[in-house]
């Protein structure tokens, strides 16, 4: 299991367009991806759940990646930001 601590740099936060691009990345991989902001969690492959977290620029989130391809997934998720 990999846990990434990420500070979002996108100036408009993780809104619909970046969330959609993020999902195109995460859906290519079989690992389970959870995004945690505070005490709330979202499935990293579900755009509606990600939008519900309301991740703004400067927010810090944990991204938990668990599965066979977790290393390559983690690299791509890190590159996304």
């Amino acid at each position: 299991m990999r846990v990434l601590h990420v500070k979002l740099l996108n100036k408009s936060g993780l809104h619909a367009r970046p969330a959609s691009v993020f999902i195109q990345t995460t859906k290519r991989h079989s690992s389970r991806i959870i995004i945690r902001k505070g005490n709330r969690e979202a499935d990293g492959k579900n755009v509606l759940q990600i939008l519900s977290l309301g991740i703004d620029m400067g927010d810090e989130v944990d991204i938990i990646i668990d599965g066979e391809d977790e290393d390559v997934t983690a690299r791509e998720v890190e590159d996304f930001n």
Binding site: S12, L14, S20, L48, D56
Partner: protein, 168 residues
């Protein structure tokens, strides 16, 4: 005798021709109010077929619009809306399999996410709740066999929905 309905739009009259700027379409705002909250699926397979047919029709329209777009930004917006559409349809499919009819489930899922996103704490992302409501409304229109534009009728409320036109 049939009553005549007069609809008056207020605004500045302009000459015919092309214009670049914001555009709006008029759409009924109460489509979800017409749907039962707890309608059960009589035949699950038929409900699923209905959903898939509406999904594929709407997706086709969105792709057509995306492919005709000349700006990458607009194409990205439509791609994001397709992602939202597929996420909504995925959740509706699950609920149909649990016995809810397509329309009730779509209403529930759309309004649930609309409320969650609009109260997410981020003003900017909260505005994206409108995208969810818009996509859900369009899918509902397809499910109910309606086109995207419904002519005005007395006693019905409307909203102006923004569509995306980019300045060149």
């Amino acid at each position: 005798m049939k009553a005549m309905v007069k609809v008056l739009f207020k605004g500045k009259p302009v000459s015919q021709g092309f214009a670049i700027g914001k555009a709006f379409i008029l759409r009924r705002s109460d489509i979800f109010r017409e749907v039962d909250d707890n309608c059960r699926a009589i035949e699950v397979e038929k409900e699923l077929e209905k959903l898939w047919r509406a999904l594929s029709k709407l997706r086709e329209k969105m792709f057509k619009l995306r492919d005709s777009a000349t700006h990458n930004q607009l194409r990205d917006i439509i791609n994001a809306q397709v992602t939202i559409l597929e996420a909504i349809a995925g959740e509706v499919e699950k609920e149909i399999r649990e016995g809810l009819c397509a329309e009730s489930s779509l209403k529930r899922i759309t309004l649930k996410h609309y409320n969650q996103i609009s109260s997410s704490g981020s003003e900017l992302i909260g505005m994206r709740a409108d995208d969810v409501l818009d996509v859900g409304t369009q899918l509902m229109s397809e499910l109910r066999g309606r086109g995207p534009f419904i002519p005005p009728r007395r006693g019905t409320s409307y909203w102006l929905q923004r569509i995306y036109c980019l300045q060149t």
